[in-house]
């Protein structure tokens, strides 16, 4: 049988697996395949635009990953806004990572192209001009946004977060900004705390912070905590942080190195009896740790090992870690 005799439904399925680059090649094959590729673009709902070198996947963390077929290399904000987004009107998930050219006058245009956007990540995004104003204008147009992730090492003034739409249930950001909390006036700080309190909060802690800020900020929040050791592991900070978070529902720690493993498990074993049985704990182990390392069978801790063959972390039962994004209905 010749491929050109296939009904469209067969091609529609095949092109759904294709990366954008492969779609570009296939669209130049024939008019019929060009039409099918155009249709595929108009139905795609996930896009990752990255200014970083291309990989087989794009990871927000160990669990939130975008497949290769969703990734395009950045050509800058102008191309994204004027060429890419108009071709992808059905996008509901957009991750923009290290894309140059956004400023207070154009960031909000993302919302004009994608009024149905539900999940947005702005990672290592340098925003020209008044960044707070840019984000405020963007938030004003995204009424259905459910997830907002933000990470910028140089951005410490988070007052714009006052304007995050109430529809947002997942806030994900690195806690670089905790240091600036003490500089805010009490009214703004209370507002932020109140806003965070209505969300499931995923936190990537990747820098050492003053313990008082942690306690102040996190104590009242029902949250999932994702604790990443980008730098030296501070055991006392880990202990303090977790022991104050009695409303914690899920704890993920990674990546734990071999020489840290025993201490981390001991800390957790001391702390976990204070929590109810509903707390889920996941330890993501460093890539070079194999399954010879383990813990007692009665432990609440679930270990995740790296599988080199598919580049993913799995537990003993060959399952992924819990999806933080699905835990949106935490009740009192």
């Amino acid at each position: 049988m010749n491929a050109c005799l296939f009904p469209d439904c067969v091609w529609i399925q095949i092109v759904s697996f294709l990366s954008f680059a492969d779609l570009s090649s296939l669209s130049r094959t024939s008019r019929r395949l060009n039409t099918i590729c155009k249709r595929e673009l108009s139905t795609r709902n996930v896009l990752v635009v990255s200014g970083l070198p291309a990989n087989d996947f794009h990871a927000i963390d160990e669990r939130i990953r975008f497949s290769r077929n969703a990734i395009v290399h950045s050509k800058g904000a102008h191309v994204l806004l004027n060429q890419i987004l108009p071709m992808l009107p059905k996008l509901t998930t957009l991750c923009i990572d290290y894309v140059k050219g956004f400023n207070e006058h154009n960031l909000h245009l993302i919302a004009d192209h994608l009024p149905n956007l539900k999940h947005l990540w702005l990672l290592y995004q340098s925003i020209g001009g008044d960044a707070n104003r840019a984000l405020e204008k963007l938030f004003a147009k995204l009424n259905d946004l459910q997830t907002f992730g933000f990470c910028d090492n140089n951005f410490h003034d988070y007052l714009c977060f006052k304007h995050i739409p109430l529809s947002v249930k997942h806030l994900l950001f690195n806690f670089f900004f905790a240091r600036s909390l003490t500089e805010w006036n009490a009214e703004d700080r209370d507002f932020i705390f109140d806003r965070l309190n209505t969300s499931v909060l995923n936190i990537n802690v990747s820098v050492s912070l003053e313990a008082s800020n942690f306690e102040q900020l996190l104590k009242p929040i029902k949250c999932n905590l994702c604790f990443q050791f980008a730098f030296e592991l501070k055991y006392d900070l880990l202990y303090l942080l977790i022991s104050k978070l009695l409303s914690l529902r899920m704890l993920r720690i990674g990546f734990v190195r071999r020489n840290q493993f025993k201490t981390v498990v001991t800390i957790l074993d001391n702390i976990l009896p204070n929590f109810g049985p509903s707390l889920k704990v996941e330890l993501f182990l460093d890539k070079n740790i194999d399954k010879t390392i383990n813990i007692g069978t009665d432990s609440k801790i679930d270990l995740f090992y790296y599988d080199e063959s598919c580049g993913e972390w799995f537990n003993e039962e060959r399952k992924y870690g819990n999806d933080f994004m699905l835990l949106s209905d935490l009740s009192d």
Binding site: C4, F6, S16, S24, T29, R31, T43, S67
Partner: protein
């Protein structure tokens, strides 16, 4: 034990046990509305060699839980399910040349065997992945009906999607 017969496009008849045959949604749906112990399905676009291959797949997967629960999916569901992971047995089973693979895919589509259909699509995807439009045309024996100007216009339009080395 009741059995179902399939008649192929090249005149062969293959008898298949009922629990294997119902892996095909066409058979399953028919038997739900027309309960019978004996029945023959005419597969006008599936030849003997292809059907034997498809039946082998159906026998291997007849007890899989997902075969029972699979349903027709919308565009949105399809576009969210883009994992190219495949059961290793299936990956090995589908190590065939492109044109036999296309025959299997066509049979899976006709008989509504969704997982086999998707896995054939994944295999074809893996064959075309990373290839230029000229290589794809050669692979698929597709006739190009574009002028040079058309091709340039499309290349410009999709320049943002181009592969970065």
């Amino acid at each position: 034990m009741s059995a179902i017969k399939f008649e192929t496009s090249d005149g062969f008849t293959i008898q298949v046990e009922r629990e294997t045959a119902v892996v095909s949604k066409v058979v399953k749906n028919f038997l739900e509305y027309h309960p019978t112990d004996k029945c023959t399905f005419h597969l006008n676009c599936v030849d003997n060699a292809t059907l034997r291959k498809v039946v082998e797949w159906m026998r291997h997967h007849k007890d899989d839980a997902y075969i029972e629960t699979e349903s027709d999916e919308s565009d949105e569901e399809r576009s969210q399910d883009v994992s190219i992971e495949m059961d290793p047995w299936d990956a090995n089973f589908l190590n065939e040349d492109l044109f036999f693979l296309l025959d299997i895919l066509n049979a899976a589509n006709f008989m509504k065997i969704k997982v086999l259909f998707k896995n054939c699509c994944k295999k074809i995807y893996l064959m075309s992945k990373g290839k230029s439009s000229v290589e794809i045309k050669r692979l698929l024996k597709e006739r190009c009906d574009f002028t040079d100007e058309d091709l340039q216009r499309i290349a410009n339009k999709y320049e943002w999607m181009a592969r970065v080395n």
